[in-house]
C-alpha cells in the first residue's frame, strides 16, 4: 500500500490556503487543511475541504467539448480552438473588438492570467477583462 500526504495550495480562489491531500495508491482520498501554512493556519472553507471531490467527480470535464445544434460534442483540442477562433473572428469582424469580454479565474496561475489579459488586449483588442474574484 502506498499512502502519501501531498502539501498543495487550494485552487478555488485567490487566497491561496495550504491544503494537504491524502493519496492512497494514486487515488485522491481526502483533503485536510495544512496546519502550519501561514495563510490559513489549519483552517479551510467548505470548498477547500472538498477539493478531492471535484478531482474524482464523474462530472469533471476531461476533454474539450464543442456545442453543435444545442448539444455538447467531444472534439479534439485543434478542432475546438479552431472553432472558437473562427467564431471570435466572425464576431469581432461584425461587431468590433469591444463586443468580446474575457473573464479570467483565480483557479489558474498568475502567469496564465497575465496571458489571458494580454490575449484580450493585444489579440482581440479590448480592455474588457475581468476576474472571478471581482464578480
Amino acid at each position: 500500500m502506498d499512502y502519501k500526504f501531498i502539501p498543495s495550495v487550494c485552487s478555488y480562489c485567490g487566497t491561496g490556503c495550504g491544503v494537504l491531500f491524502q493519496v492512497m495508491d494514486g487515488k485522491l482520498m481526502g483533503t485536510m487543511p495544512l496546519k502550519t501554512h501561514p495563510v490559513n493556519e489549519g483552517k479551510l472553507c467548505i470548498k477547500g475541504w472538498n477539493l478531492h471531490e471535484h478531482v474524482n467527480s464523474g462530472n469533471r470535464l476531461k476533454h474539450p467539448l464543442v456545442r453543435m445544434n444545442g448539444h455538447f460534442r467531444p472534439a479534439t483540442w485543434e478542432k475546438a480552438i479552431e472553432f472558437a477562433s473562427n467564431r471570435l473572428k466572425e464576431i469581432i469582424g461584425k461587431y468590433g473588438p469591444d463586443s468580446v469580454g474575457v473573464l479570467v479565474s483565480a483557479k489558474i496561475t498568475n502567469e496564465e492570467n497575465y496571458l489571458a489579459q494580454k490575449f484580450a488586449r493585444a489579440c482581440i483588442g479590448t480592455n474588457n477583462v475581468d476576474h472571478c474574484a471581482r464578480l
Binding site: 500526504f5 502539501p7 492512497m24 481526502g30 495544512l34 502550519t36 489549519g42
Partner: protein, 272 residues
C-alpha cells in the same frame, strides 16, 4: 523512538507507521514503511496535530488486514478507545507509540498546541466566550446572557463543516448535517444554532476533548467548551467516562436493546 519504529517495521509487527515528518519546513503526517527504513530517521512527534487515528481508520476500511502503528498523545489514545468501542477500529491491528502532550512536571517533552492558549480579542470577550473558560465560569452567566453569548459565537459560523471533517470520532457513513433526505442539494446547510446543536448532541459520550475541531474552526467558535459541557452531562447523568470506558455510551441507538441507564444515587442537575 525512531529505533523502536524501525524495529516494529523490520519485525513485521506493523506494516506501516503513521507519524510526522518535516517536509519543506512543515511538520506533516507521514506514512513510514519497510520499503524506506532510512526515512524513519526523520520521524518527529510534533508540533502540529493531525487526526492520525482517523487516517488509520480510513486506511483500515480500505485494507482490513493491514497492521498500523501510530503516534498517539493522550487524546489519540482516547480516540482509539472510542473508535474501538464503536467497532470502527480493531485495536489488535493497531500498535501505539505513546508521546507526551499535556503540560505537566511529569512529562518533559510536552508539545501540544494547547500549551499556550491564544489570547482572545476584546469583541469576543464582550459578546462571546473565551475558548479556555471553565464550564463553571460559563454557567456563572445568567441563562439569557449565556444564550446570547452562545448565539454570538454560533452566528459567526461559515458552515465549512471543518469541525466534523477533522473530528477523529466522527465516523458516520451518513451525516445528518448533509443527508440528502434532510437537506436537498439546492438547500442551505442547517440553521444556526441547529447545526452546532446537532453536532453537540452527537458528541455526547463520544467527544474525546482533543480540540482539533476548535483548531480547524475559521470562526473561532469555542466548540471544545460546548462538547465538554455535553460530555459533563453524560458523566453526571449516566456516569459514563468517554475515552476510557470499555463499552459503548448509553446513547447507542443501534440494535434492539435500549442501553440508556441513569446513574444511580442522588438527583442531578439537568440545567444546561
Amino acid at each position: 523512538m525512531n529505533h523502536m519504529v524501525k524495529m516494529w517495521l523490520e519485525q513485521g509487527k506493523v506494516d506501516v507507521f503513521l507519524g510526522y515528518k518535516r517536509v519543506d519546513g512543515h511538520p506533516l503526517p507521514h506514512v513510514f514503511s519497510k520499503d524506506n527504513l532510512a526515512d524513519v530517521d526523520e520521524l518527529i512527534t510534533g508540533p502540529a496535530r493531525y487526526p492520525l487515528e482517523k487516517i488509520a481508520a480510513a486506511i483500515i476500511s480500505e485494507k482490513p488486514d493491514i497492521k498500523i502503528g501510530l503516534l498517539a498523545r493522550d487524546c489519540g489514545q482516547r480516540t482509539l478507545n472510542v473508535l474501538h468501542v464503536w467497532n470502527q477500529l480493531n485495536t489488535d491491528s493497531i500498535s501505539v507509540l505513546n508521546v507526551p502532550c499535556c503540560p505537566s512536571n511529569l512529562k518533559e517533552h510536552a508539545d501540544c498546541s494547547y500549551l499556550e492558549p491564544e489570547k482572545r480579542g476584546p469583541d469576543k470577550q464582550i459578546h462571546g466566550f473565551d475558548n479556555n473558560m471553565s464550564i463553571d465560569d460559563v454557567e456563572s452567566y445568567k441563562p439569557k446572557e449565556r444564550f446570547e453569548r452562545w448565539m454570538y459565537e454560533f452566528q459567526k459560523c461559515i458552515k465549512c463543516y471543518g469541525c466534523r471533517n477533522i473530528c477523529p470520532v466522527c465516523f458516520c457513513k451518513e451525516c445528518s448535517l448533509e443527508h440528502h433526505d434532510l437537506i436537498e442539494a439546492k438547500d442551505l446547510p442547517p440553521e444556526v444554532p441547529i447545526f452546532h446543536l446537532v453536532r453537540a448532541v452527537h458528541m455526547a459520550g463520544r467527544c474525546i476533548d482533543c480540540g482539533l475541531c476548535e483548531d480547524a474552526c475559521p470562526a473561532d467558535i469555542p466548540l471544545r467548551l460546548l462538547y465538554r459541557k455535553v460530555n459533563q452531562v453524560v458523566k453526571d447523568v449516566f456516569d459514563y467516562e468517554t475515552g476510557t470506558s470499555t463499552h459503548q455510551p448509553p446513547f447507542s441507538v443501534l440494535g434492539e436493546k435500549v442501553t440508556l441507564e441513569l446513574k444511580p444515587l442522588k438527583t442531578v442537575s439537568m440545567d444546561l
